[in-house]
Symmetry: C2
């Protein structure tokens, strides 16, 4: 499937982050690039929170403050580069944003925190039609299924 041309695809163009930032009056900084790089090199289906971003940058020898991380996350969500997720438990997670029609959803084990992703076009349809029916302009949909994963089930008896 083609990319949505309205969404910047940063995977190819190394200079695109600067373009996207400057277009909205933000400045390009090495910190923002490094954070975005983490998301681009993260395993598919891996979600990052501020703590993990901080730690991963430390591990690769980069020092960065939490305030900068939080500020960068907000800017990138605002620009549509990242998506903020409320997977569970008091912290927010982030992932690369995907075009609306390709949005995926999450199945979370409430015991071990394991997260699995799945796609289903029905979600997008229901989200679109419900928001249209009430005159809402749709921003995004999150479908989160909570349960207990197979290995936790066997542990718990």
């Amino acid at each position: 499937m083609e990319n949505d041309p309205a969404l910047p695809s940063l995977n190819q163009e190394p200079e695109l982050l600067k373009t996207v930032l400057n277009k909205e009056g933000f400045r390009f900084t090495s910190q923002r690039q490094k954070i975005l790089d983490l998301f681009q090199s993260a395993a598919l289906g891996h979600h990052l929170n501020a703590e993990e971003i901080h730690q991963q940058l430390l591990d690769q020898g980069e020092k960065i403050s939490f305030s900068t991380i939080y500020r960068a996350l907000h800017v990138m969500v605002q620009l549509g580069l990242l998506q903020e997720l409320e997977l569970a438990e008091g912290r927010k997670y982030y992932e690369l944003n995907t075009p609306f029609m390709d949005q995926h959803h999450h199945l979370v084990c409430v015991h071990c925190g394991d997260v699995q992703e799945f796609e289903d076009a029905k979600m997008t349809q229901v989200g679109s039609s419900e928001s249209a029916a009430r005159g809402f302009s749709l921003l995004n949909c999150q479908f989160t299924v909570y349960g207990i994963c197979p290995s936790c089930q066997s542990l718990l008896g």
Copy 2:
């Protein structure tokens, strides 16, 4: 549609809260009853957070501490009497739990915070089949649609 017999229906029996609590080793207290009463008398489609519960009880002349409110909410979620929602913005909301097949979902205006409810059997179906396909035991599904409501759209131009 019938109530799920596995879920206690507290709307009728004034003494049922005590029964449900004691069955799991919890004690009945007037504070817990008052909190549950608030939910039972709340307008349909209204979601309450700890702050609002505290204020509503103050308004009706009841003094109660936040620690008690938070503890009661946790117990009632554990007992399946309440459902915890991550509608948005750093605080948790609660509502009376409904049988799984009747679960509803939420459309949230990210600008003014207005929340509308809707039902769609497709959600439950997708949640069930996805969790079954991966061997998860299903606890619950939350579908949250974010957008901008009609009146905020006109305000924002």
